[in-house]
Symmetry: C2
Subunit: 186 residues, 2 copies
DNA sequence: ATGATACCATAGACACGTCTATGGAAGTCC
DNA sequence: GGACTTCCATAGACGTGTCTATGGTATCAT
């Protein structure tokens, strides 16, 4: 029983990871069960054992995205040992390095036509804004200024992700310069 | 002949506008000729008179997007009469107000699986970066600093668009605060 | 009025995708 | 070793979407 659940969860997650990959590469509408099955070396019969239907898969993917691509970065930054300003730079680099904001564009598009996706997206953005504001308050800034800078950082990183900054060999210097402006000599 | 070409172009543009709307609301993969025809009160027979096939439509939509949603904003900003700092704020507000960066997410996703879309997207981003850098140089900043700030502005606006800042009643104050940070007392 | 052109409707062949029904293999439990 | 559970394959019904073939109508020039 234990073993069985373990194997089930693993296989289920394979489908989720494959679906998320398709979503961020080609959009939600490109998630097709036969195509997913082919990439996993399975058939659609397996899919319908793990999921009720496609909507069921998509709902699960949302949860998967929320937990795997935002939460752990916040946790890492919270556990960061060092000056507040360095924490901000470390987070910015981690976001770019891991491509954490890469699927955002796809989820944003998805959110426009799906209520559950919209809720998950808004919830995630809010978390990012709140956490970013906290990081800037730690710098000694007052609440409103910290919120503005935090928001600017988050939205800029999302824009950079959409712009595929990772493929730019100089991305580290670019990020560092933006960090200087954000943390900046006020 | 003249008249006929005019009518042709108008109807063609109807299809393009409808397609772009679908793209930014549900993604490229959701562009279906029968669905488009229904919203236009036509049938697929009409579609295949104007376009060779779906790919032909999508290629044309790219061109349409590039010209209608980036170019005219740059032109407006270039023609702006007033201090350089005010020009920047005016552009930022216009981008948000017109939702000029709204379809960006959809195009970004599209670009990942289509070479032509990728080229158009990269070209557009580059144009935005270059123009933004120019605006900041007009402030009296040296080249590298201006480029960094301009890029930060552009990516942040793209992130805000993905985040649907327009629906926030306080968006004008948020933008103004970000503008202050960007133009900032350095 | 006759022909040419632009524009659109209709019908259907064809491909692709979803989901159900059914059964089979492998491990688990008693 | 028989019953049960988990996981997947196969086959096919069914729906949806693409694209072609064909013809109809309105407009315009001659």
């Amino acid at each position: 029983m234990e073993k069985a659940e373990k194997r089930d969860a693993a296989s289920r997650e394979d489908w989720l990871a494959a679906a998320l990959k398709v979503i961020h590469e080609r959009g939600v509408e490109s998630v097709k069960v036969v195509a997913l099955a082919r990439t996993l070396g399975l058939t659609s019969g397996s899919f319908y054992w793990h999921f009720k239907n496609i909507q069921d898969l998509l709902d699960s993917v949302l949860e998967y995205w929320e937990n795997h691509l935002t939460s752990h970065i916040i946790e890492d930054a919270r556990a960061f040992e060092g000056p507040p300003a360095d924490r901000i730079l470390a987070l910015m680099k981690q976001v770019v390095r891991e491509g954490a904001a890469v699927p955002d564009s796809s989820i944003a598009v998805w959110a426009k036509s799906d209520a559950a996706a919209d809720a998950a997206y808004k919830r995630t953005i809010r978390r990012r804004f709140m956490f970013a504001a906290w990081m800037f308050r730690e710098l000694g800034l007052e609440a409103e200024e910290a919120a503005a800078r935090g928001r600017l950082m988050v939205t800029a990183l999302m824009g950079e992700a959409a712009n595929d900054i990772r493929s730019d060999p100089e991305w580290e210097r670019i990020i560092e310069h933006q960090w200087e402006i954000l943390v900046g000599r006020q």
